[in-house]
Symmetry: C2
Subunit: 485 residues, 2 copies
């Protein structure tokens, strides 16, 4: 496996770099990153002194340092003292224990940072090794070693190779195999809105994400068609992980990070009416400063911003951020005139029979958490009452409203309220909004609550006074959710 | 909510206790726990100097201190600086944002320690609150506050109440609601084997565990039948969590920790032939020392071993451990005479057509990880070839062998090998063993890899030389696993 030698070289370089960084104080590094984040916030048109953003530079610096702590960890420290003597079967009789019997740990949830765009990506890691020399490794160390390399800027194949070679060098077993399933957030193309691929992301969770499945093997796993790979893959199959090795590997290499499609600047800035957060196709002076700031962050993290794989990263990360540039454009509602509000504040139940409840469910959205500069995304459900004679509001109009309020630095609570208020005042309807989201800041960082999700509700007019109306809408959402499972 | 006042009292006592503990050095506390663990290992008949156990006292001390770090954390430190001003809707118009719109975070994976038996239990935590005073809390803080109380000795209801009251005091919202789903390992009764309820635990995962569903509410959630509970439960339903409040609360109170059934000593130590690890029904001198050692551990963790809920805990924990006492009894194989081995070492394929592959799948087991003194459990699959004329080995016999090797301090690699070796030599067959397990030491502790699972394989005779035989057996396991989903 070529990765073994490369891994060795990489580690030496890394140690040199760490030496340089060690000379810097941790708080000095944090301040460097904080300053760079302030430049990014300014570039986004934000006031970095407003309440929600005041501590964002500090939070981002802490998160990034923590999320790349792998640069400062050594595999040797982890493996040392966790290798246990374990008798194996007599050779010739069979394989088990400390000799030849495969050991597999499946479904380790990790997250890592994409070296191409600096966004986190999710990883499900499966590790196997075949012990030799009557020694086995404490099971948790397989996970801890994998995490050392996940907590760096990575690409899936490189991550798999590094974990594989580090374990091989650390345990000196008969062989190591690593299979990674990785999920990366989709990118909108420059000058195009998120909505253009919204149909792919209609369900919450990881559907619609870019998925890569990669593997790496050393020792007895170097032969991709060997029996021992068959054993490993059979054990993964027990857990529903189906690996078709050659096919998926190629796929991953070709189209992993969606930001790669953004590298060619768009010369004709054609912007659809839906696209509220128009991004300039040229890199203006403020974007140059932002790009330099991201390069400075890479340096502070102990990386070389001139490394081949990182050269375009600052540009790509800034392009991602610019999707969330603050904008105060008026929303153009395609010929929809805001009708006069017709709210039933005092007497919620009065017109129940005359008006009809309408709903638009599962409107997908992407947003950016203003506390951590990390994405959150999910679906919105909008219910409203309108007079029985009126035409329902077009879904595309509601999508535009959602898009306008999500494509900025946000918090979910505010997003929910703003959409409810806007729909209510623009169309004169009583409205209920339910937002269900996954926050990357809840799955990455120290907290790592992979399965968690957040729901928020806003109710206006009748929905806030009539529990039956609210319950009816929630029930309709539950039915859709259940049938989608 | 009565829990508010109790919570306050508990906190004051706790602060006093922390004061006392602060005077002790962390390393001093670690040494105290290590010494106590050595007593436990001796009581289990183990040599605490053997390789696999040498560092176990240190690992257990570290794990326990880390697992009860909540005693040394303050909610104020977490919430401080994470309350953000967020405008709400005008009162009278509706509810959202900083006023009245519910915020729910679902599916937070936590683990805690059972105060009744000192074993960890798994928690899925759902938290909701209704903001007031135009302030919202950073989402991750809901999880971090819950974790402060999870990382203590707990009972589910008490945990829910404490999280609820701490959040209420910390955020000062209109109300807080907490729903916890908790899973606790089953206990064998004294003098009875694990096998007696093995049919309940045949599938891996949390099936067959004791489950408790509890809830707690403050402020607007104090009224259990209020509309706001309806909203919260509707949002949980979206994620498949169905709460029938009154029913489940009662259930949890009656029969949560399975160790409670052990409190009455068994006077007639009736032991079935299956029961290899016979536990004395009386508490001998070595058990008294073990009980005192566990009480000392409780004290070292900052708890009062005389607190009502903890008085029986050392006894119960020791009873649990005694299931895994080292024993060198001969396995009685119920009239089965060990036949002469009839291994096909040299010519694996020769008798393929004459002999028939038999298999016993999904044999459940419980064991105790010798590195962390924490349970691991799962299912075993055994395949073997026997001459076409022979009777297949009875499943109950194989279960006895599994039971014998799992009921001790173990590592999964060794368990796999020992079972393969014993089946092979006792019955003269060529054998393959696959062990699939969940390790509590992989889901609790710092690593917290909730969904992970470990698989190991041992192959003897033909299975080690004939890839087709091995693949055939793995395929038969895969089919069973797939049909059980």
């Amino acid at each position: 496996m070529g990765a073994l030698d490369e891994g060795h070289l990489a580690r030496e370089l890394e140690n040199l770099m760490n030496l340089e960084l060690d000379l810097k104080d941790e708080s000095e590094i944090t301040v460097e990153i904080e300053d760079a984040v302030k430049v990014l916030l300014q570039g986004l048109g934000e006031d970095s002194n407003r309440e929600g953003l005041k501590k964002t530079p500090h939070r981002v610096a802490k998160t990034l340092r923590e999320g790349t702590r792998g640069y400062r960890q050594k595999v040797k420290d982890i493996v040392q003292g966790a290798l246990f003597p374990e008798a194996g079967l007599d050779s010739g009789v069979g394989q088990a224990g400390g000799a030849g019997g495969i050991v597999v740990v499946r479904d380790l949830d990790l997250f890592s940072y994409c070296e191409s765009c600096l966004l986190p990506f999710q990883v499900k890691c499966h590790v196997g090794y075949v012990p030799s020399r009557q020694r086995v490794l404490g099971l948790s160390k397989l996970s801890r070693v994998a995490d050392v390399f996940a907590k760096r800027l990575q690409d899936p194949q490189h991550l798999a190779d590094e974990v594989c070679s580090a374990l091989h060098n650390g345990i000196k077993p008969a062989g190591v195999a690593v299979v990674l399933e990785c999920w990366h957030i989709r990118f909108p193309e420059v000058g195009r809105s998120f909505l253009d691929h919204s149909h792919h992301t209609a369900k919450m969770g990881l559907q619609g994400w870019v998925r890569a499945l990669v593997y790496s093997g050393s020792g007895v796993f170097e032969n991709e068609n060997g029996d021992v790979w068959g054993d490993f893959l059979a054990l993964l199959k027990f857990k529903g992980v189906n690996v078709e090795k050659n096919h998926t590997l190629t796929t991953a290499k070709l189209c992993w990070c969606p930001s790669s499609s953004m590298d060619v600047p768009v010369s004709n800035g054609h912007v659809s009416t839906r696209n509220c957060c128009k991004v300039s196709s040229k890199t203006g002076p403020s974007q140059s400063a932002m790009i330099a700031a991201v390069a400075a962050i890479l340096h502070s993290l102990g990386e070389d911003p001139l490394r081949k794989e990182l050269v375009g990263t600052p540009h790509r990360f800034v392009q991602w951020l610019m999707n969330f540039k603050k904008c105060n454009f008026e929303i153009k509602l395609n010929g929809f005139n805001a009708t006069k509000p017709n709210m039933h504040k005092e007497n919620g139940n009065a017109n129940c029979n005359q008006d009809k409840m309408q709903s638009e469910l599962n409107i997908p959205f992407w947003s950016q958490c203003e506390h951590h500069l990390l994405p959150f995304h999910g679906v919105l459900h909008i219910g409203y009452f309108h007079a029985s004679g009126d035409k329902p509001i077009e879904r595309s109009i509601l999508e535009s409203v959602v898009h306008f309020y999500s494509c900025k630095l946000q918090v979910q609570e505010r997003l929910t309220r703003q959409i409810a208020e806007t729909v209510s005042s623009a169309f004169g309807v009583e409205v209920m909004v339910v937002v269900e989201a996954n926050h990357i800041c809840m799955i990455s960082r120290g907290i790592e609550k992979v399965g968690s999700s957040t729901a928020t509700i806003a109710v206006l007019g009748r929905f806030s006074t009539d529990p039956t109306a609210k319950a009816m809408f929630l029930q309709s959402v539950a039915e859709i959710t259940a049938s989608a499972e």
